[in-house]
Amino acid sequence: MKKQQRRTTIPLDRDATGRFLPLIIGIMVLLATLMLVGAVMLGEGLSNWRSGLDLKLTVQVMQLDERATPLAQRVEESLAVLRASPQVATAEPLSGEDMSRLLAPWLGQGELPADLPVPALIDVTLKQQGDIAVLQESLKGIAGVSLDDHGSWLRDVRRLAQLSIIAAYSMVVLIAGAAALILILLVRAGLNTHRDVVELLHLVGATDAFIARQFQRHMLWVSTQGAVLGGVVAAILLAIVSVLGQRIGYVSSIPWLAVPVIPLLFVLLAGMTSRRTARRLLSELP
């Protein structure tokens, strides 16, 4: 009862301007949590995917004219070179079925036409990441052979994924910034609405810290309501995503830590912003 009386020395809880604050904070907490979780999962997925692809190479043996060494022989020579290399873990040629499946989106199902100059492909797995220039040099003596480390498109995909992660983190920061701006506006509006009460407190000897604490307590209380609301909804949505992800076989761990951390950060942000704003505005009083 006493605490209730002290909390309402400035009747901020009656302000129409702050009525929707819990809902606004709730929505922002929900968005920020989903963004952060998305960014972490994207980063984790990219890392897993890269670690699988970074050790993969593809050796392509082109069809040449009839005067050249036959394709099958050049594939065998290439395999021999690859398997003799200390860098290579495995080197396996793709079968005709594999090639048909790879080209099915462009050429349709079924066997490939005999007169189609389809190159032979060798799937290479390295023991560890390293310079492939030596391997390239070794294959140079075999005609029509090229080595593709997927570097260029892997770099593009990596850049795109990194941009997505940066964008997601930026959104989290922007959402937090927007929340801080709303709180600043509400504190300013509260000070204007209750100017007579604030001035009276000032005149009876209340310090700026005492008055700012009234604003801070109110904003902390209202923000906590919103943060809990947003956090609960985020947890429910992520639980649904987790269940659906397991059903479709996509197994990536959800960073559950974000669910309590983001609401907590928003509550801290609300406390700090409201106190600092109130103190700054109060310092303009005589």
């Binding site: 020395t9 009656r14 001035e199 000032h202 005149l203 009876v204 000897g205 209340a206 005589p286």
Partner: protein, 224 residues
């Protein structure tokens, strides 16, 4: 105890509303502040309760130079000043008890001690049965007593009252003045701004008389 030397006050870039005000209020003195409407009484009171700092001149209160005092030190000085506003300025959303307890809470007094002290004072001035009511349901006289209780609860060294008898009949006005005299006997310095000629006739205390922003006279001869 309180000294004004060549004090001037202007609001913003407007004209000076107080000019060359010089006087001294001894500790434990009792003064009336008089003057026509617009003469500067409220402005002088605002300087006394530290709602403003002067535009020029020197003010010394409780041994402190108000002009150069850091802003952070002002609340401690304000806690030594009680003010009864003409319109009372009670907070309608708080109970009588909480209104009177404001200065003690602002001063950081322990809650239990503050409530006991406030309850005792309100009972003493006959408001023991309205402790938990809102000021809006009280009569004008009761509201005035609440305002006075709030002004004196922290035992201020200086008590300022702006037209405290403006809204009450002569009988209540007299009782109020007797109350202020009682506080004065306990050592509180009192300054009362008033237009009430019958009170001024009856209570022969020195006057600080303002006219057009200048301090014109003091019957006790304490003002310049």
């Amino acid at each position: 105890m309180i000294t004004f030397e060549s004090v001037g006050l202007r609001y913003g870039t407007g004209p000076e509303v107080l000019r060359d005000i010089t006087f001294t209020l001894d500790s434990g003195s009792f003064h009336f502040l008089t003057g026509a409407s617009g003469a500067g009484k409220s402005s002088l009171l605002r300087l006394l309760y530290l709602a403003h700092r002067p535009s020029r001149g020197l003010i010394t209160m409780f041994g402190q130079d108000i002009v150069s005092l850091p802003r952070d030190d002002l609340p401690a000085l304000r806690q030594q000043i009680g003010v009864v506003f003409q319109d009372f300025r009670l907070l309608d959303h708080l109970s009588v008890l909480d209104n009177v307890a404001l200065p003690l809470r602002a001063a950081g007094k322990p809650e239990g001690e503050a409530l006991a002290h406030v309850t005792e004072l309100l009972k003493w001035i006959g408001l023991g049965d309205v402790l938990h009511l809102r000021p809006t349901v009280l009569s004008g006289g009761q509201q005035q007593r609440v305002a006075i209780a709030r002004a004196v609860i922290a035992r201020p060294k200086l008590l300022l009252a702006d037209e405290p008898t403006g809204n009450v009949d002569n009988g209540i006005a007299l009782r109020l003045l007797y109350l202020f005299e009682e506080l004065n006997r306990l050592g509180t310095t009192i300054v009362i701004a008033t237009h009430n000629e019958s009170l001024l006739e009856r209570f022969k205390y020195p006057r600080l008389h303002l006219a057009d922003g200048h301090l014109m006279q003091s019957e006790a001869g304490e003002a310049a």
